[in-house]
């Protein structure tokens, strides 16, 4: 009952949930997931809901429901899963991972789903922005002259950011093609 009400709410609020019909399902999707590192144990899910009950994101936003994401993936609602904002909303807290009786390793499964989504060209813009920073600074934040002067003032060693090694990895992995969904 409670769940039903939630789903109704989800429908109204975000428009994410529509009635799912057979023709939009891809029965191969689940095999794609178990091949992806992190997705190996995914078929073991018995829909007990321990993950959702443990989830701190769900505690704030009832529309976020990891068990439902798993179910949608299981029945093959590929597009809804990969396009969904929800897969990016996992805070990677590992609470569900620790408690799942079937050792589904949900947090890792979420990483797998995100990796698959990226392959199809769906990437969250804020994550994409991080890549540019990594390429520029080898880190998510710049340590400029200003920061280094501050560091010096407080007796901290200067930091020379050296993005070269990071850049070489990004080039070798063809990350630009990956996020275009070309891989």
């Amino acid at each position: 009952m409670g769940e039903e009400r939630e789903q109704e709410k989800g429908k109204k609020k975000s428009g994410e949930f529509q009635v799912i019909t057979e023709d939009q399902l891809d029965p191969q999707f689940k095999y794609e997931i178990i091949k992806e590192p992190g997705g190996e144990n995914f078929l073991r899910c018995m829909q007990c809901g321990t993950c959702t009950a443990s989830c701190p994101v769900k505690a704030i936003d009832p529309d976020y429901n990891c068990r439902r994401i798993i179910r949608m993936a299981l029945i093959g609602d590929k597009e809804s899963v990969l396009k969904s904002k929800f897969i990016w909303m996992c805070s990677t807290c590992y609470s569900c991972y620790e408690r799942c009786p079937q050792d589904v390793k949900i947090t890792e499964l979420m990483f797998a789903l995100k990796n698959i989504a990226v392959k199809y060209g769906y990437i969250h813009p804020s994550i994409k922005a991080q890549l540019d920073l990594l390429e520029k600074f080898g880190a998510l934040l710049e340590i400029s002259e200003f920061e280094n002067r501050m560091r010096e003032k407080y007796g901290l060693p200067k930091i020379n950011q050296s993005p070269e090694k990071v850049k070489k990895v990004l080039e070798k992995e063809k990350i630009k093609d990956v996020i275009e969904g070309d891989s």
Binding site: I60, D61, T92, F111, K114, A139, L156, N160
Partner: protein, 294 residues
Amino acid sequence: MDYALFLGCTVPARSLGYDISVRKVAKDLDINLIDVEGFSCCGFPTASIHRETSLALAAINLCLAEERNLNIITLCNSCTAYLTKVNMILKNNKETFEKVNEVLKANDLEFKGTIDVKHISRLLYEDIGTVKIEKTVKRSLDGIKVAPIYGCHYLKPSSIYNKFDDPEMPKSLDSIISATGATSLDFPEKILCCGGAILAIDENASMGMTHIVLDSVKSLEADAMATICPFCHLMYDEYQATIGNKYGKDYNIPSLFFSQLLGLAFGHEAKELGLKFNAVRTKNLVKKIMGGEQ
């Protein structure tokens, strides 16, 4: 003992109080932290995008520490989990090991699997020990109530951490806090997620998660919170007032890095511990601690 200090992206830019106080406290405890030229992002931010890339990014840092024959000490929970995890994968999975080493060739690096990774709090708990911490205390924090904030990746996934602490009922940070003479508060929210990881994805959910913990700490009348991760600090300290406004609460809870608290207990002055970088004012707390000395 010598260790490679891995600061990660956030600490050297945004958490100077952590950087400063960890170095102070380490010195008091005869821990020699060495800065390694060339350390870069731990790789975790790219794990959502492309696993292989993130493994190689983590491995760069592992290799640089290996070259110097140093174990890595981390300050950020996410760096800790990611470097620990990748180190474990590369040590145990031959196929991944070979793949990553192939990528690393572009940087003339080779992962060998000779070092370990530990969070500074775990190092203090496991290797330095609370007895030594007690002996180093010059100014007891007796009468100060501290809420320990564990964050997520320091304890979880527990499968990578060799059971050094219990992910559901941890005690490592509590015992470090108790060693200073302070009272470490017991409350279930101490293991909850700060929400920092999804701040850029969904601000509402993120701050909502922070406020659950802040509410609980407030109700316990804690004198301070002790964090061990720059993201927890960002949420509980830098964003505390914003979140208070959003939820109509006046929290005003000093949120310190655990090393800042230790530093106070070891007899250092506030200005030696970078407390001026904390957003929530710590003046009254420091006064309470210094009470007897003034």
